[in-house]
Amino acid sequence: MNVGGAIRAIISFLIFVVLHYTLRPLLGWRAPMDFLILALLLASVRVRPATAAVLGFVLGLISDSLAPDALGAGAIAMTVVGFGASYLKAVFFADNLVLNAFFFFLGKWVFDILYFVGEQRVHGVELLQQLLLWSPLSAAVTAAVGVLLLFLMRPLLEPTPA
């Protein structure tokens, strides 16, 4: 990735982070989209697994700092998701919107599973309900929004022709 591509990727990443703290609370849905996961996934497929892991760790700490009781849970989940996304980029790195949507869906769902299990705040039926109902819904919304944003931000995210 050349310098121009890196700058555009960073701008996209920042846009996603800002959207996470503006659009998401403004909508206030029960199954919200997760722009941090989208930002992490889009960045992870462009960097090495180690860098993706560090990026995930930092993003996780950022999200955890707003919920101190869960400090560390988001960091673990995002580290694993970032590393996994970067490691499996050979599988998912394709210019196919459906495949990208599945990639976003899977990333968000895995994150939620790791997060809620690591957070240990909800248990039993409530945890099952969260992981099997609300998390897939949230992942689906995230995937839909991610695909939409990929479509809208294609000029920023497309690799520069050599």
Binding site: T22, L23, A50, L71
Partner: protein, 378 residues
């Protein structure tokens, strides 16, 4: 090549393991250490994001509450509009109660239900009927004066003709009995407004503008002394043998909502002095209100003086000069330099309103004050 790849994979795994271990450590931190870490992050590099989130949350709350706020504003506006009408109605009801206390008996308080259309202010439906003692040709009055007469009676309601009706007539006179006439509605079309004509006044009797006109009691329907209106001016008519005056009515038919129906048996007992007494009652109520105001003012002054005296005593006990204006000993006050400037705390009730009350008011203090005679000074 393979060695390089293996080396890179090893680095990736080491970094991943380090991140996971750090995250687990963060997760395992006790609350006392977790909170400062999170707070520190929120207050430093995350502050802009937190601010963005707060604004977004506030925006969402505003959106959600917009309808409720609008409804609240509408209710407030509606209430403020109603408040004026309620005050007027309150005033009218007070007057009605005052009139009722003067009449003592023989009246039926009732509600007047208006109109079928615009400018149809010639009749009203009254919410009392024959079961309540209403009979045909019973006079309908308001605290201000004459309203109309009952022309149809049902068991539970009745129909009254207001003075604005073209067929309405009442024998009228000036209170001193120097001028008599027949009062009826002044019918000049839609733009004429609600005025009364006093017709048939003898040519030798002149009435000045502002003169009050009351019912004369002739005819057997209306008792004597009910206010009808006040003279505005004389108007020219074709009748050369008598004068006609235009009156401003005592009661505006559009404002009639609570009225009294006089029973026939009450009419025979007379109404002399009732409206004058009602006016006196009104003045007495005003005086009571004013006296209450004066008493409250005196109590506030006494309380402020007592509080000031206590503060002075405390200041003296502490060795400081008195803070207040009072000096119970009467000794000349020794003015000593204060080592530390003491700011006197303002008493809770000695703010601007109390101070404003210390100014003598003409309508309260002066009426109770007996002027000193010259010999007292000697």
């Amino acid at each position: 090549m393979q060695r390089a790849l293996r080396s890179n994979s090893r680095v990736d795994l080491i970094v991943l393991s380090s991140c996971v271990i750090l995250a687990l450590v963060a997760r395992a931190l006790p609350t006392t250490m977790r909170d400062p870490v999170a707070t520190g992050m929120r207050r430093t590099f995350l502050a802009p994001l937190v601010m963005l989130q707060e604004r977004a949350e506030r925006g969402r709350q505003s959106l959600l509450q917009a309808d409720a706020k609008q409804a609240h504003l509408d209710s407030l506006s509606l209430n403020s509009i109603k408040a004026g009408a309620l005050e007027t109605e309150n005033e009218r009801l007070r007057k009605l109660i005052g009139l009722g206390s003067q009449l003592k008996w023989g009246f039926i308080p009732t509600e007047a239900l208006h109109g079928r259309g615009v400018r149809d202010e010639t009749t009203v439906i009254l919410s009392a009927g024959s079961r309540a003692g209403v009979s045909r040709l019973s006079p309908v009055i308001a605290p201000e004066g004459l309203v109309g007469v009952v022309d149809q009676v049902d068991p539970t309601m009745s129909h009254a003709m207001l003075w604005t009706h073209p067929d309405f007539r009442v024998s009228a006179m000036s209170p001193d009995g120097t001028a008599f006439g027949i009062a009826q509605a002044h019918l000049t079309g839609a733009t004429g407004g609600y005025l009364i004509e006093l017709r048939g006044v003898p040519f030798r009797a002149t009435l000045k503008p502002g003169a009050e006109i009351v019912s004369s009691g002739w005819g057997g329907v209306w008792p004597r002394g009910i206010p009808i209106g006040t003279v505005l001016q004389e108007i020219k008519t074709t009748e050369g043998w008598a004068r006609t005056y235009l009156l401003r009515p005592a009661v505006n038919p559009a404002d009639v909502y609570s009225v009294m129906i006089l029973r026939r048996d009450r009419l025979a007992k007379g109404f002399d002095g009732v409206w004058q007494s009602a006016a006196q009652v009104d003045q007495a109520v005003q005086r009571i209100v004013v006296s209450g105001d004066s008493a409250a003012k005196a109590a506030a002054l006494a309380e402020a003086a007592a509080r000031r005296a206590v503060l002075d005593s405390v200041a003296r006990a502490n060795g400081a000069p008195p803070l207040g204006a009072t000096d119970s000993t009467g000794a000349p006050r020794v003015v000593a330099p204060r080592p530390v400037p003491v700011r006197r705390p303002p008493p809770a009730d000695s703010n601007a309103p109390v101070r404003r009350d210390t100014t003598p008011r003409n309508d309260t203090v002066r009426t109770d004050t007996v002027p000193l005679r010259p010999e007292v000074h000697r």
